[in-house]
Subunit: 365 residues, 2 copies
C-alpha cells in the first residue's frame, strides 16, 4: 500500500482543534489498514508569524512542495491585525496557493438533509442542493501587479489593485469545470462582469471557445456575477457547476456555502496541474469556514469540514474514492443520528463537543 505524504498545517484559531480530529480519523484509517500516511506538521498564518515573523517559512514551503497533499485548517484573527502587510496570516495561505500553483479551487455546496432547517432559506429552496463552485485561485486581482498604496501628498493616498487574466489561465480552469460537470449533471455556468470588465470579456470568450472546441456535450450558460449572486439566493438548484474568477469565486462560494446551512460542514480542494513528467498534482485541502477566533479553545468548533477535507484528499490526490465515500457516509450517519456541534444545532438534536464529534465519526466508521 502506497504511503501518502501529508503535510498538516493547523494554522490559527480553531485550526488546531479541528486538525486534532482529522488525526483521530487518520489513526483509525491506519489501524484498519485502509490507508498509510507519512505525516509532517508545520505552522502557517498568525502562529507562524509568532514563531518566525513570517506567515509561512521557506522550510514549510519546501515541505508543502515535497508532500503529496497539504491539509490546512484556517488562518487569521484579530490578534494579528497590526502585523506588516507582507506577514499577515492570509499571506501564508496566498503563498501556498501561488507557489504550489493551485489554480483550481473546488468548493462543493451541499445541503445535508438533516441540516436543511438550519438554513435561513426555505426548506424547498435548499433541500437536496448539490452545486460545485470552481474558482480560479492563482490569478486575478489577488496577485496582479501593480498592487500599491502611494502617498500623493496633502493627506491624499492612491491605492491600486490590478486584475489580470491570460488566455491560458482561463482555458485551464474552464477545462476543470467542464470535466467535473461530466461527472455530475453536465451543466456549467460561467460568471464574470463582461459588461464592465475587460477580464470578463476575455473570460467569456475563452470559456466559450473551450466549450465549442472540446465540450459540446456539456451545457454552458453565462451569467453576470451580480445576477448570479441573485439567482443563487432565489433558486440555487438551477445550477450544477459554476466557474468563475478568484474574486467573484471568493464571494459567490461563501454565499453558496451559507445557503446550505452547513457552513461548518463544507470542505474544499485546491488543485494544481498534473505534472506530465511525474504524474504528480500538487493539492491542498481546507474547510470553507475561517479560523473563528471567537470560539477558539472552547472545544465547540465543528470538525466536519476538516474531516471532509481529508476525504477529498483521499478522492482527488490518492485515488481512494471508496475510503472517501466511507468517511462521508460516516459524517451523514452521525448527523442522521441527531448529533450536532453548536454551529449546526437544529431543534431536538444533541449538541456535542469537537472531540465528541470526531469520536462519533470514528465510531460510525
Amino acid at each position: 500500500m502506497a504511503t501518502h505524504k501529508l503535510l498538516l498545517l493547523a494554522g490559527d484559531g480553531i485550526g488546531p482543534e479541528v486538525m486534532a480530529e482529522v488525526k483521530r480519523v487518520i489513526g483509525w484509517l491506519e489501524r484498519e489498514g485502509l490507508a498509510s500516511f507519512a505525516i509532517e506538521e508545520d505552522l502557517v498564518g498568525g502562529s507562524a508569524y509568532d514563531a518566525h515573523k513570517q506567515a509561512i517559512t521557506d522550510a514549510a514551503m519546501d515541505r508543502a512542495k515535497a508532500a503529496d497533499a497539504v491539509l490546512l485548517a484556517a488562518v487569521g484573527g484579530p490578534k494579528w491585525a497590526d502585523v506588516p502587510y507582507e506577514a499577515r496570516p492570509e499571506a501564508g495561505l496566498l503563498r501556498l496557493r501561488k507557489d504550489l500553483e493551485l489554480f483550481a479551487n473546488l468548493r462543493p455546496a451541499i445541503c445535508y438533509p438533516a441540516l436543511a432547517d438550519a438554513s435561513s432559506l426555505k426548506r424547498e429552496v435548499v433541500e437536496g442542493l448539490d452545486i460545485l463552485i470552481v474558482r480560479e485561485l492563482t490569478g486575478g486581482v489577488y496577485f496582479g501587479e501593480p498592487k500599491t498604496i502611494t502617498d500623493l501628498g496633502n493627506g491624499q493616498k492612491r491605492a491600486i489593485d490590478t486584475q489580470i487574466y491570460d488566455t491560458y489561465e482561463i482555458d485551464r480552469i474552464a477545462r476543470v469545470a467542464f470535466d467535473l460537470a461530466r461527472t455530475r449533471r453536465n451543466k456549467v455556468t460561467s460568471s464574470e462582469k463582461h459588461n464592465v470588465m475587460r477580464t470578463g470579456v476575455l473570460w467569456k470568450e475563452v470559456v466559450t471557445k473551450v466549450h465549442d472546441a472540446d465540450y459540446k456535450d456539456v451545457e454552458l450558460e453565462h451569467n453576470l456575477a451580480d445576477s448570479l449572486a441573485m439567482q443563487l439566493v432565489r433558486w440555487p438548484k438551477q445550477f450544477d457547476v459554476i466557474v468563475t474568477d478568484n474574486l467573484f469565486g471568493d464571494v459567490l462560494s461563501d454565499i453558496a456555502a451559507m445557503l446550505t446551512g452547513s457552513l461548518g460542514m463544507l470542505p474544499s480542494a485546491s488543485l494544481g496541474a498534473v505534472d506530465a513528467a511525474t504524474g504528480k498534482r500538487s493539492a491542498m485541502y481546507e474547510p470553507v469556514h475561517g479560523s473563528a477566533p471567537d470560539i477558539a479553545g472552547k472545544g465547540i468548533a465543528n470538525p466536519i469540514a476538516m474531516i471532509g477535507s481529508l476525504a477529498m484528499a483521499l478522492r482527488y490526490s490518492f485515488n481512494q474514492g471508496e475510503v472517501a465515500d466511507r468517511i462521508e457516509a460516516a459524517i451523514s450517519g452521525v448527523l442522521d443520528a441527531g448529533k450536532r456541534t453548536a454551529d449546526i444545532r437544529t431543534a431536538g438534536a444533541e449538541v456535542i463537543s469537537t472531540q465528541a464529534m470526531g469520536e462519533a465519526i470514528v465510531a460510525e466508521l
Copy 2:
C-alpha cells in the same frame, strides 16, 4: 411652485413600459397641483445605439447635465450583444454616472410586509427588513486604467482591469453613509477585502478616520466582502447602512434586493456632490432591476420600482418628502389590497398588468 426639470431616459426592454406609468403619476401630481415638471426625453442604451450608433449622444448628455434630475429605466439586452464594446448599452449608463459625477449610489432593500412570502428566505429572516446599501459609483474597477485586452501572439491574450481608489473618493462616500445612518438606526458596516486588496486597506483606513474625526456617535463595523455576503444571507436584519466600493456594491446590493422578495419593487438614487456655488446636486434615479428583455412588450412588467424612483427624486432632489411619502404609501396600499404584477405574485393575490398597476397606484393616491 418651482418647476422640476426632469430628463426621462426610458432605455431598453421593459424601460418604455414602466416609464409610461411614471408619466401617469407625474400627470396626476401636476393635475393636483402637488408638483410642477418640465419634462424632456431622450434615448440611452441599445435604443440610442440603434438610432445613433452610440449608447448615449453628447446632446443627451447635455440635457442630463441641464436637468435637475434624470429618471432612467433600464438598458441592455441580447439584441446588442455584438455591438462594439465602447457602444454597448451599459456604456451609456456608465457615462451618465461618470460625467454627472454620481459617486453615491443609494440602494434601499426593503421587505414589503405583503411580499415577505415571495422571498426564498424564511419569513422571520426578512420580515421587516430595511437596509440601505451605499455603493461608490464613479471609481474602482469600473473606470480605472489600464483596462485593456492585448494580443500576446500564439493564441494568447492578456486582459487587464484596474481598481483605483483615492482618499477623497472614499472620504466622501463614507460621509454620505454616516449622514444617512444618522437618519436611520445609526449603524454603518463598511465592507472591502483588505486581506487581499490594497484598495481595501485604504478603504478601511479612510472610513475609520472619517468616523473617528466626525461621526463618533455612529456605530461603525468592518466586515470583509465575502463574510458580509454570507451574513446578508444568514441574518440581514443585523445591518442598517452598508458602505462599499463599486464592484462589491454591485454584487451585494443585488443580493440584498433579492432577499426581500421585492426585486421588481426597489428604486435607487445616484447622487453627486452639492455644488457650493449653485447649491445644485446632480442626480439620477433608476430601478434596481434590469431591462428584462424576455418580458418586454408584454405589458406585464412591474412599474413599482420606477414609480418609487420618482418618489426618491422628489425626496432627494426636490425637497418634497411629503409627496414622496404619499406615493410610497399608495404603493403599499395597492399591495395590501392584494394587487400584484406577475413577478411578485403571492398566493391568493390578483395579478394585473403594468398599466393596471400604474392606474391602481394613481387611484390609491
